[in-house]
């Protein structure tokens, strides 16, 4: 994780079907402060993120202020999700009944392992079905899906001798680059065009149609190379695996919202479709989609509408997959639901607006969060789903300035800063059971940052324009400071002496190694 060379070593790929991801598990990632130091050193990533996040923020403001009932839509989105989550058992039973009535087969999975076992079984069965005289390739095509990433499905399939091909352009870049996603919507946001070109030239030919030799780094030509590379995989696809943005209890309709058409290819061309759906994705009725189909595209890609949205309700005679399976996964969600405060996070529709607005994310990128969910929602959801036992999970709730920008953009009004504080309390509570104190983690990184004028300057600059508290290089109170200072200030509540710059004050009151005098 600490290094992401453009030309990865392929030594460990010899006996694999798909490009190997970086070694190690997310759960064993270094703490957020530690990894963020590494990420901050990646100048390419910092510049990419800086440009990209600015572009998308501006666009989002444009399309959300254009809708004059935006705030009403947010209230409606929040209410529909609460309504469902507060009686989740009822809606899931209704969903199960509708899916079954529509001809889909419903499977339930308590955790990642169980989900993967179900999926492997379904894929094996589908590929074993005779397809004329030709043996089916041991492969599946994939629609971009957070749920399948969360359960690390690709690796489970690989172990079962099945190649899972990512078909979303960014996911393809990540997969071919032996990399991990760093953003939920644009997973390869940390890569620039020339890196993408190199990855395509080096890797495409190993796994299918090679990139054209004269490929340049124009995004339009890179996209065209992906089109050609993936087309042959779509045209021969027997099994596709998708997630779902929404699952409608009333009708058993699943909905996928996308841009490129790779989703439609998978949903339409395969013979068997397996959809992996978190139990919190259910919504009551078809009509509710009018709220979310306005909230989601404007919040995520900052468009009035995304290019393609597909609804399907079981198999359709003579059109698309004739076998449709739905795997409903818990994988920690019922734990989140058990916390009356924390359950608000389950409203998340994975739009990524909170990530795009976050000054901390913009600086360090997604990899430091040690999870498929980065940014504010990741800092809340990951420790909820996985618990705070691992070092990285105990550290991410501190990866925030609590500046509040995220709560203002969240289309379903998740109180992210409140939930971050809530999760910090849980981390502190966990300390009573012998785990390292979060303050220790905070203190260590604060010392490092304050010991380096460059980083401090960058940090103060990072929040100018976010409406935060620093003015003219002076700090007159320790309210929410930008990360990483917030690691410290948000864990304590200390008044600053007036008319003394923060750095001067810090130098006066602390040793060089960051420990208090």
């Amino acid at each position: 994780m600490s290094k992401r060379p453009v030309r990865p070593s392929n030594a460990h790929d010899a006996d694999r079907l798909t490009p190997a991801p970086p070694p190690g598990r997310f759960l064993d990632s270094p703490t957020f402060p530690k990894q963020s130091k590494v990420e901050l050193g990646n100048a390419v990533q910092r510049r990419n993120l800086y440009d990209a996040m600015r572009t998308i923020r501006t666009k989002r403001v444009g399309v959300t202020s254009e809708a004059d009932d935006w705030e009403d839509l947010r209230l409606a989105g929040e209410a529909i999700k609460n309504r469902t989550l507060r009686h989740l058992d009822r809606y899931l039973l209704q969903l199960e009944e509708s899916l079954t009535a529509a001809g889909s087969t419903v499977h339930w999975a308590r955790d990642a392992e169980e989900a993967n076992a179900i999926i492997v079984g379904l894929v094996n069965a589908a590929l074993a079905t005779p397809q004329g005289d030709q043996a089916s390739a041991r492969e599946v095509v994939k629609v971009k899906s957070m749920a399948t990433q969360e359960i690390d499905m690709n690796e489970a399939l690989e172990e079962a001798g099945i190649a899972a091909w990512e078909t979303d352009l960014a996911e393809l870049i990540v997969q071919l680059g032996h990399d991990r996603p760093s953003h939920i919507l644009v997973p390869a946001i940390h890569r620039n065009r020339s890196e993408v070109r190199q990855i395509f030239l080096d890797e495409m030919g190993r796994y299918g149609r090679p990139a054209p030799d004269d490929l340049d780094s124009e995004p339009v030509n890179l996209a065209a190379a992906a089109r050609l590379h993936l087309r042959e995989k779509f045209l021969r696809a027997k099994v596709a695996i998708s997630g779902a943005n929404f699952a409608v209890a009333e009708t058993g309709t699943l909905v996928v919202v996308e841009s490129e058409g790779n989703g439609r290819m998978c949903l339409t061309l395969a013979d068997t479709l397996i959809s992996v759906v978190g139990i919190e994705k259910v919504i009551p009725s078809v009509a509710d989609l009018e709220v979310f189909l306005q909230l989601l595209p404007r919040s995520s890609t900052a468009e009035r509408m995304n290019p393609y949205t597909s609804f399907w309700t079981g198999p359709t005679d003579g059109d698309g997959p004739q076998a449709t399976h739905v795997v409903l996964i818990d994988n920690g969600r019922t734990k989140v639901l058990a916390d009356p405060v924390g359950r608000d996070a389950l409203r998340c529709i994975r739009c990524s607006a909170c990530i795009n607005i976050c000054p901390v994310y913009e600086k360090v990128g997604g990899h430091a969060y040690g999870s498929v969910y980065p940014g504010p929602i990741g800092a809340v959801l990951t420790p909820q789903l996985r618990g705070v036992a691992s070092a990285v999970d105990a550290s991410v709730p501190y990866a925030s300035t609590l500046c509040g920008a995220c709560v203002d953009v969240c289309p379903v009004r998740i109180p992210l800063p409140d939930l971050l504080v809530h999760m910090r309390h849980k981390v502190v509570e966990a300390k009573a059971h012998g785990r390292p104190h979060a303050d220790d983690v905070a203190m260590r990184v604060t010392g490092k940052v304050l010991g380096s004028p460059g980083v401090w300057a960058a940090t103060t600059k990072a929040i100018s324009g976010t409406g935060a508290v620093l003015k003219k290089g002076r700090v007159d109170h320790f309210g929410p400071l930008p990360w990483p200072l917030s690691l410290w200030t948000n864990a304590r509540d200390v008044p600053a002496p007036p008319n003394e710059s923060f750095r001067a004050w810090y130098a006066r009151t602390h040793h060089k190694d960051g420990s208090p005098r």
Partner: protein, 212 residues
């Protein structure tokens, strides 16, 4: 052994012990409402164009306009779903463009070698510049409007509604009937490389809307 289903449902019930059975969250929203807009058709045109798609009002003969559109995109073969206006089909045939029907269903490979598709739609929305297909007569199965690189879509003026709420409301019966629904807003696009928008990835790279 408890099944995963029963265990998950039991976990949920335990997690929601604090929620009274009769608890209902009010949804403060009036569904299916039209949005006030100026001229619907003008707005629809403008918004489709915003996505980089072509949109054109048909004033003369529909068949001739469809042929012009196909020829303008260099189309030599086209798949025509059952149920399309026979006058349109005739005009295309007379222009010498190879017509492929989809009964029996074309193979994926043949579809991939076909330049274009002409379809109608079920409803369209002005504010977002969206067309919605419910894959009824004139629209064909989903792969037809996906695999060929050019999609010419005929939208009747009275199919254009204001915005998403009205489009969803119109699609409720078809969805309840189990039909697949496809929402199309411009051509296929991506912003995955440096967030720079590229039109045309896997879906049709050219969307040409004819407003009838």
């Amino acid at each position: 052994m408890t099944s995963a289903r029963d265990e998950i449902l039991a976990r949920i019930r335990a997690s929601l012990a604090d929620v009274p059975a009769d608890d209902e969250t009010d949804v403060p929203w009036a569904y299916g409402q039209p949005r006030r807009t100026d001229d619907l058709l003008d707005l629809f045109e403008e918004r489709v164009r915003d996505y980089g798609a072509t949109v054109q009002r048909v004033t003369g003969h529909l068949g001739a306009t469809v042929v012009e559109a196909l020829l303008a995109h260099g189309v030599t073969s086209v798949v025509l779903p059952a149920g399309l206006d026979p006058a349109v089909v005739d005009a295309i045939a007379q222009a010498g463009i190879v017509i492929r029907g989809d009964t029996p269903a074309l193979s994926r490979a043949t579809l991939d070698e076909t330049d274009a598709v002409v379809t109608t739609c079920a409803v369209a929305g002005a504010v977002t510049g969206t067309i919605v297909l419910d894959h009824g007569p004139g629209q064909g199965r989903r792969a037809l409007s996906l695999v060929p690189d050019v999609h010419v879509c005929l939208v009747a003026a009275d199919q254009v509604v204001s915005d998403v709420p009205e489009m969803v409301a119109r699609m409720v019966p078809a969805t309840r009937a189990g039909r697949p629904i496809t929402w199309i807003s411009g051509g296929s696009a991506t912003s995955d490389i440096e967030l720079s928008r590229v039109e045309g990835v896997h879906g049709p790279r050219t969307l040409h809307v004819l407003l009838v």
